[in-house]
Amino acid sequence: METAKKRMLTGNKAMAEAIAQEMENDKNVFVLGEDIGKYGGIFGSTQGLMEKFGPERVLDTPISETAFIGAAIGAAAEGMRPIAELMFVDFFGVCMDQIYNHMAKIPYMSGGNVRLPMVLMTSVGGGYSDAAQHSQTLYATFAHMPGMKVVAPSTPYDLKGMMTSAIRDDNPVVFMFHKSLQGLGWMDQLDYAVGHVPEESYTVPLDKANVMREGKDVTIVGIQMMTHHAMEAAERLSQDGIEAEVIDLRSLAPIDKDTIINSVKKTHRLVVVDEDYRSYGMTAEIAAIVSEEALYELESPIKRLAIPDVPIPYSHMLEDFVLPGPDKIVETVKQMMDEA
């Protein structure tokens, strides 16, 4: 019988705890980025690290993403295990050469002789009127490029466990954390941004999707906020007698095909929900995988929900319109069931 209250943490504290524990375990781990020192990261990802480890291992950098992400690559090649923070994923444009041409390709171009054990962590996501240059997820932009593991955890438990795995991995890992899931006091207070997180160190694999809810009628694949919206939609659908299976993708690259295909074989229907642009994105990738490997399992065409190929607008009315949410998911699933 469990009487002790479960230890609850916000997303940001779960992440920061993983980093702290790995910094304690391995002197080669260090963090660098903008406002990650005293400020603790604009989205709290490094909260408390400066106090614990000092400025030698928690380095505030100038606004020089090319230099400090490039420096992380150079340090990783020398056997260090840097964690670099790109404050908003939207800022990738000023440093994409280092990410795309160097971090992702050096291990391959060296025939595996150079290892780059580094983490590039970055905040993603919208829904709080930060407009076109501060609200993107760009999941597909990163997952498209071979040579990087790209993960985007959805719960505090996974944020900690996947960060620990990312730091211990010998390959470059792009670790995307969703701003709304950090549990910050100055954003929407979401129940799922707080969750059970064990104090002791643990790992969660970087290549496995997670079945968040089992169901027999339809599979809904999401990631980060879209997973949570899918969960809410599933509860509502259940009241109408439709049981949705919700898969939290967690890892964009490598992608866990098996979990998706096994689910589709059970439910025979698939909806993919993404907080990224619709074209050439995660929804298209998953639709293609299922078409290639499980087309005849489907009882109705695959449905995709994503940002309709427009930059993310500022005004609430506009942003809410383009971001997929529970209402749209419910509506889409119902339509799908009616058509069948």
Partner: protein
């Protein structure tokens, strides 16, 4: 003390001998590459044909920059180089056979044939290079950071062309290295051209060492592609970095005897220019200085030259004799574990 050392007591003639051997090796290596690269590309030039396909940027004439710096480095110091990397790689002690095999696209190459001439990685020699202008500077900054964090007196040297000094990565990296007082040296090889555009049309300042004052770091200028002057400027910079006194920018006026890449018609430069540069060949200059110093005689220099050429010939033979990778090996090494 030799005559040379009487005149220049700070310079070790033994080290100049080492430089001479490297420079001869580099020159011969590049000369052989001109031949190998041309194979299969005549009568019609097709960049994708022959035993050495793709772009080829050779460093003939630029030997002093690499030899004059590398003579002061050890295996523990890190070097990053740009798209024209053979002189740096050879002087840094990169495995010559594996390097050549890589350029021939063979499975015995440094990168098992996945990198090619612009992407040579030899972790044992702590050497890397890349095809994106200025992008290697941040990597050297990171190596310098790692050295400092490990409490070592190892230094990191980024070689770049003069065109790279106008890229953002140059500015960002020097600001960061100066701010953190890192053991970083940036060597700017001014060969007068960014492909076809002359320096005076691309650069707002006479020489890039003057930009050192913008970062509060040391700057040095080496004129006339002079090996001994490069030796001295590099020694000072390396000592400064090893002693925790921060970064240095060295600019060396160097000579590009060949085109930007092989096959470059070079319509943008005067026909008289290259013969004029070749008349000021830094290898011949250093050779004469060594003879004048009465440190070595003609026969001993010839022995050095023979030894260097033999190593290069062996490397090319190794490359030619090696097998191509199996096609499906293209799928390996995306991840390293």
């Amino acid at each position: 003390m030799t005559k040379f050392e009487e005149k220049q007591p700070s310079v070790s003639v033994d080290k100049l001998m080492w430089m001479y051997e490297q420079m001869v090796k580099i020159r011969y290596y590049e000369d052989q590459m001109v031949e190998a690269y041309t194979e299969g590309k005549s009568p019609v030039f097709n960049i994708g044909e022959g035993p050495v396909p793709g772009e080829m940027h050779l460093a003939t004439g630029q030997e002093p920059a690499a030899a004059g710096m590398m003579v002061h480095l050890t295996k523990d110091d890190t070097v990053t180089a740009p798209h024209r990397p053979h002189h740096h790689a050879i002087a840094k002690g990169v495995d010559l056979k594996k390097m050549t095999a890589e350029i021939f696209g063979k499975e015995t190459g440094l990168g098992k044939g996945k990198g090619g001439h612009m992407h040579l990685f030899d972790p044992q020699a702590k050497f890397s290079c890349g095809g994106i202008v200025a992008a290697g500077i941040p990597h050297a900054v990171g190596a310098a950071m790692a050295n400092k964090m490990k409490g070592k007196d190892w230094v990191a040297v980024a070689f770049i062309g003069e065109g790279a000094a106008n890229a953002g990565a140059f500015h960002e990296s020097l600001n960061l290295a100066a701010l953190w007082n890192l053991p970083l040296i940036v060597v700017v090889e001014d060969n007068s051209y960014g492909i076809s555009v002359p320096k005076k049309s691309s650069t707002s300042i006479e020489s890039n060492d003057l930009r050192a004052s913008a970062y509060g770091v040391a700057g040095a200028y080496v004129k006339d592609n002079d090996p001994v002057a490069m030796y001295k400027a590099s020694e000072e910079a390396v000592n400064r970095a090893r002693n925790g006194q921060g970064p240095t920018i060295i600019e060396i006026e160097t000579f590009r005897f060949l085109g930007h890449f092989q096959g470059d018609p070079e319509l943008y430069r005067d026909k008289e220019e290259v013969p004029g540069l070749r008349a000021r060949d830094p290898i011949m200059k250093l050779r004469q200085q060594l003879l004048d110093a009465e440190h070595v005689n003609e026969k001993e220099l010839e022995e050095i030259e023979t030894r260097a050429k033999q190593q290069v010939d062996e490397a090319y033979q190794f490359a030619r004799d090696s097998d191509y990778p199996k096609p499906e090996a293209a799928l390996d090494d995306v991840f390293t574990s």
